[in-house]
Amino acid sequence: MNTPRATRRALLVGSLLLLAGAAQAETSTQDAIAEYREMFGDDNPAELWQSRGEALWHTARGPKQANLTACDLGLGPGVIEGAYAQLPRWFDDTQQVQDLETRLVSCVTTLQGIPREEFLKVKFGDGEKKSELEALTAYVVAASRGKPIALPMQHPAEQAAYALGKAAFSYRAGPHDFACATCHGDAGKRIRLQELPQLTTAAGAREAYTHWPAYRISQGELRTMEWRLQDCFRQQRLPQLKFGSEVAIGLTMFLAKNAEGGTLAAPGIKR
């Protein structure tokens, strides 16, 4: 009866021979997918969300009949250029660390008087049911295109959010024992043909984070970071991540900090 160690060594040799053949087929698949992505050029339907967001930003609405040009995203009232590159951050008026989406909700509720539930009734769009949050996010994010990510990270609450994000990133739970790290913890991995950026390194985090929010071809919708995290936890078989919760903002802080220095290129276009 050969020892398990010997059997394993035999298997290793066997599978290595096969890997050579598989590797060659693999690169032709990845090249073909790169070719497919290339064919979209810069005609990204996300622009339709950007123009809808721009109209919303400048339109007086709500009980207070105000537009959003006084909304302070961290760089002063109405300043959107480069604002996304410095989020999430601490805000004195709300006494919270906020990401872009929760900050937009604060502006809509305080400046326009629109109740939070009403504004978030359609958080994530689905065909005819359009999301104002997604449109406003697309508009603001596009104004940081080409800007380097640079988080203030001065306030203790910002650092605590980073720490929570880092801890949540490797929190294994649920029937499959999944954590974010299970799929995003190593380099060069993929699920099916879907390449997985290693989000714990600067290179991996930059590659991913700088292209979100993004137009998702598979759904024909522009999706934000809050949607991205919520949908990832759904696939991890966990309960639903609450919009604007500590873990949502903490994870976004963790990813943004890891991606620091990367140049924003959002809204991107993704599968």
Partner: protein, 103 residues
């Protein structure tokens, strides 16, 4: 009220190059929404384009043109400042026209 199209039309050599993005759900009638209800068919069936009133393209579409459709074509005889008008009509009888001046 539907969202405006994004139309880029620019003179390239002696032709005008047009690139259009339209905001439309292009529902096939075979998809189910998040709650599991079948979403009825609703898609663009006709697209026309004219330059200063002269027809330059017409198209008939089915439900398998992708959501938020993209369309690009080229024509001769257009000049900077001419008006390019694009119109779509869909199965719900909605219609939309947008016009840009050629760059």
């Amino acid at each position: 009220m539907s969202d405006p199209m994004r139309i880029r039309a620019a003179v390239k050599g002696e032709k005008v190059e047009v690139k259009i993005l339209m905001s439309h759900v292009m529902e096939t009638g075979q998809r189910k929404d998040a709650e599991g209800a079948v979403v009825p068919a609703h898609y663009i069936t006709k697209v026309t384009a004219s330059c200063n009133g002269r027809d330059v393209l017409s198209a008939d579409w089915g439900p398998s043109v992708s959501k938020n459709p993209y369309l690009s074509f080229r024509f001769k005889g257009g000049a900077k400042g001419d008006k390019l008008k694009v119109t779509w009509t869909d199965t719900a009888g909605d219609s939309r026209s947008d016009e840009v001046s050629i760059g």
